[in-house]
């Protein structure tokens, strides 16, 4: 009886030792349990009337933040993969410098500037934020897709062609799977940067975890700033670890012997 409990307890501790699960628990704790921390913030910031951001729940803010980053990353991913595949085809090779220049220019603009330009065109809200983040995330993804496709050894390409795989089959079954681990690194960078950048998008009225930060900064409420920053940080750490885990799955063939 006590033996099984020990085994169960050990398994529980084992799970906690997994950084992905641990960071997931910390994130969930912050998102759902922020109201429980009210006394802590009250003690830390005794001068504040309202030591807890309560205009909206942290769950809603987190969901909105994740949706914004997810949607903008999905747009960057689709465009980045299409552009990366296009410039590595024979027909698109000559467009490569052009595409790289455009994409790099997108990265050179600070996201705040993109937001500022987008607002007069698209108004306040999620739309300018979405576009600014998508443009900003495009460079790392396109670059990584191109690098990934180019990392496929010449011999592998030649063999794929020589045994009679179609252009489509070579792309889908050889080039993209082999490019995936490298491409994923670019997606990871892009998403992590955008989790942070999305917070700034609250300045143009998008609902994100940046809201408590911005409200806190303008209203001299350091507790709000801290609360927003804690959740953004936990979200970034959790996402980063999740990408790491996914990456290990994608290039399992580099390690597994059977």
């Amino acid at each position: 009886m006590s033996g099984t409990m020990n085994a169960g307890a050990r398994r529980g501790i084992g799970l906690l030792a997994d950084p992905l699960i641990l960071s997931g628990l910390v994130l969930a704790g912050l998102v759902f349990g922020m109201p429980l921390l009210k006394p802590v913030f009250a003690a830390l910031f005794p001068g504040l009337d309202r030591p807890l951001y309560e205009q909206d729940s942290f769950l809603n803010l987190t969901i909105a933040h994740v949706v914004l980053v997810g949607a903008s990353s999905a747009i960057s991913l689709v465009i980045g993969v299409l552009a990366g595949v296009f410039v590595t085809r024979r027909a698109g090779r000559e467009f490569r410098p052009l595409v790289e220049t455009i994409v790099a220019t997108g990265q050179t603009f600070p996201p705040v500037a993109v937001l500022a330009v987008a607002v007069p065109l698209l108004g306040f809200g999620a739309a300018p934020a979405l576009i600014a983040l998508a443009i900003y995330g495009l460079l790392p993804i396109t670059e990584a897709v191109v690098a990934g496709i180019e990392s496929v050894p010449v011999g592998v390409r030649e063999a794929a062609r020589g045994i009679g795989m179609s252009a489509r089959g070579r792309l889908l079954h050889v080039e993209l799977p082999l490019a995936a681990p490298v491409a994923l690194a670019g997606v990871r960078t892009s998403v992590i940067i955008n989790i942070g950048t999305a917070a700034i998008a609250s300045t143009v009225g998008a609902k994100t975890l940046g809201l408590p930060i911005i409200v806190g900064l303008s209203g001299f409420n350091t507790a709000y700033v801290l609360q927003g920053a804690l959740v953004v940080g936990a979200l970034a750490v959790f996402t980063d670890l999740a990408f790491e885990r996914l990456g290990r799955r994608l290039d399992r063939w580099k390690r597994d012997s059977a």
Binding site: V154, E158, G162, I163, W253, K254
Partner: protein, 310 residues
């Protein structure tokens, strides 16, 4: 099986293959050899349309290769190259199954074929079928490469310096393997090499290329005994000529049947070159010979190696 009729290929102004005519018969083991840049790879890759020829005609099984879709053509021809090019994210089994899968074979049939092919190229199926390529040695990888090329029972096997990057011991083993595979499958093989010993050992016909033209084509014996030009004689290697002549004849062809001698015997199927090596290393003037059944068959004398040569 494959016919070149006045085939030409040029890049810009340089003619890489010129007026090449060659007929490769079914079941032949044809070796293309020549100095670097002589057009061997270009000639080979024109057969499966990895490179398109500019002039002349190339026929496969009686039909012009341009009448086939390139992919369909390639699936009927195995292809193995020096860099091997196994798909690193696929297991040995998945690599070998690549073409059968493209051709829509059933799972059970593919599985049986993989088992059969691993056996054919000398790899234990249960040990290796689930491995990923980077856990194999270079020699094992090329065995898998050959198995992948043979998987869909192609009518023609095209090989571009397949053993060029392997160490001599592994290369020797794979050459022996190729001879076995060729005998067992009857596949027409076209192999590119720059190694004359490999050409002599493997080829039923050797085609020597020089600047995109055929300098000479013929059996190893014809080429060694009657080189058509100074270029061919130089290419064969005048210094090595004697040893190469010894390497195309077997002990059985020159032994004295019925005689007996003491010492460790040599097989009648061994080359005269091997016999010479043993004679020299043992400081002997004769060796006992055993037949295919292992029973004494006769004796080979040192003098027999030179009898009747010009």
């Amino acid at each position: 099986m494959i016919q070149f009729e006045h085939v030409g290929k040029r890049y810009g102004t340089s003619e890489v293959v010129s007026d090449l005519s060659l007929s490769i018969k079914a079941g032949e083991f044809c070796v293309l050899i020549g100095p670097s840049g002589s057009g061997k790879t270009t000639t080979l890759r024109m057969i499966n349309r990895l490179i398109e020829h500019d002039s002349g005609r190339i026929l496969f099984d009686g039909a012009e290769i341009r009448s086939f879709a390139p992919e369909a053509l390639r699936r009927r021809m195995g292809y193995a190259i020096q860099s091997i090019g196994l798909f690193p994210h696929w297991t040995v089994e998945e690599n070998i199954a690549a073409v059968p899968k493209l051709l829509g074979w059933s799972k059970a049939k593919i599985r049986d074929r993989v088992t059969e092919l691993l056996g054919l190229v000398g790899l234990d199926a249960t040990t290796y079928r689930g491995r990923y390529p980077q856990h194999l040695s270079g020699g094992q990888q090329q065995r898998v490469g050959v198995a992948r090329a043979l998987a869909a029972e192609p009518q023609v096997l095209l090989m571009d310096e397949p053993f060029g990057a392997l160490d001599p011991v592994t290369r020797d083993a794979l050459q022996a393997e190729m001879l076995r595979v060729h005998a067992a499958s009857g596949t027409t093989i076209v192999l590119v090499t720059h190694d004359m010993d490999e050409a002599i050992r493997l080829g039923s016909r050797i085609v020597i290329l020089d600047q995109g033209r055929i300098a000479q084509a013929g059996s190893p014996r014809e080429i060694l005994t009657r080189p058509a030009s100074d270029f061919v004689a130089d290419f064969i290697g005048r210094d090595e000529m004697g040893l190469r002549l010894l390497s195309i004849e077997t002990v059985g062809e020159r032994m004295r049947p019925g005689e007996e001698a003491a010492g460790e015997p040599i097989a009648a199927s061994a080359t005269l070159r091997h016999a010479l090596s043993l004679l020299v290393s043992r400081a002997a003037d004769r060796l006992p010979v055993t037949g295919a059944d292992g029973a004494p068959a006769g004796v080979i004398h040192l003098a027999d190696l030179t009898v009747g040569r010009p």
